[in-house]
Symmetry: C2
Subunit: 221 residues, 2 copies
């Protein structure tokens, strides 16, 4: 595991999210608009020039490489560059996952950017969201992120673009293996089923051990 | 199948792509910059305002709903909104698929926007690209797009962000079912394996039948 700690509290996390979430949402809007626009070529060229200027302004100061998964001082992960749930990543819908009652669930609006067959959700986007969700369901029961061993996705019928509902839960554990079942449903019911074998890391340090290794003071939790 | 025909030739396709591909590439740059930027909040807010202005300009005239998969007069599909390969869709890397020698192959650069675990390709992004590629491998042997029945993805080891190589080919056919094998490799070898059962559509009309149904004149091919 690659640990990076940012010594910030949850109020600072919320403050940062209040800036980057709307920014990523604006980029999502832009992705959608570029797919669907019917303005003429001159306007498309002008749009490109304006986008490039924004990119230049943002790249004046930037992180080397990918965002990674930094942790806050209370060891909350900030996977803000994640392709399925990243708050800063406009590739992600993003999926907001709720962990409750032993299940990971999410409700997501999938627009034009997630199309495969005409008017339908891309089968691979269904797999992307399910891979993330089964991982989160497995991780709920451990302290450290689990990795996907095998993901089997069964397409029951096409998923209409629009609002979809996802659910995943661990159905069995065998040593470090967790067997997780996930589903996607559109307004007419379940469209995609997934079965995953997730692998928990060999050594799962306690929160206290991680803090000690990082040389940070324990916080009052 | 939902058919939409645009009565344009390959020269007009190329002309349109020469405008929209660089535009989508600029949006990809923007997605990456928003993930990695370290400019201050005022600059982030300013960027958002400028992006919203571009969105407004593009939405002055736009298609209702998703892009769909229109066909040219010589029945070449234009899946430009596709989440894995769409030329207009900045969610897509995009993957450029080569069909040759019975296999579908692609070489793709996966940057910060495709991250899952720190520094690694999101397992679901691997599934997205493989789902598209096994579909294209199956479709090479039919006239109409095949749909994924089941996709099984086995994660051999984590895939490093950066350049990856993909390959898929049909290994067996049973009636309308095609069994397709796909792989992803990074610089150090194969990282992900996929097995898919693809389903060909029940009725596969000939190109001439499609043209007749659409009321278009046959072209000299």
């Amino acid at each position: 595991m690659d640990f990076r700690l940012e010594d910030i509290d949850s109020a600072e996390v919320d403050r940062r999210l209040s800036i980057v979430e709307p920014l990523a949402d604006s980029v999502r809007d832009l992705i959608d608009a570029v797919i669907r626009t019917e303005v003429d070529d001159a306007d498309l060229l002008a749009a490109r020039g304006r986008i490039d200027a924004v990119v230049d302004a943002l790249r004046v100061r930037q992180k080397e490489g990918a965002y990674g998964v930094p942790f806050t001082r209370d060891l909350t992960g900030m996977p803000w560059g994640n392709a399925a749930v990243g708050a800063r990543n406009a590739v992600a819908p993003p999926m907001r996952v709720v962990h409750a009652d032993g299940a990971a669930t999410a409700e997501v609006e999938l627009g034009a950017a997630y199309e495969g067959p005409a008017g339908r959700v891309h089968g691979g986007i269904a797999a992307l969201l399910l891979d993330q969700l089964v991982g989160e369901a497995a991780t709920m029961t451990t302290r450290m992120p689990c990795f996907t061993g095998t993901l089997t996705v069964k397409y029951v019928r096409p998923t209409a673009l629009g609002r979809v509902w996802l659910r995943a839960e661990v159905i069995r554990t065998e040593g470090r293996k967790k067997f997780v079942r996930g589903t996607i449903a559109d307004a007419d019911g379940v469209t995609v089923e997934a079965d995953a074998v997730m692998i928990a890391p060999k050594d799962m340090p306690s929160a206290a051990q991680i803090r000690e290794a990082l040389g940070t003071a324990p916080t009052a939790e």
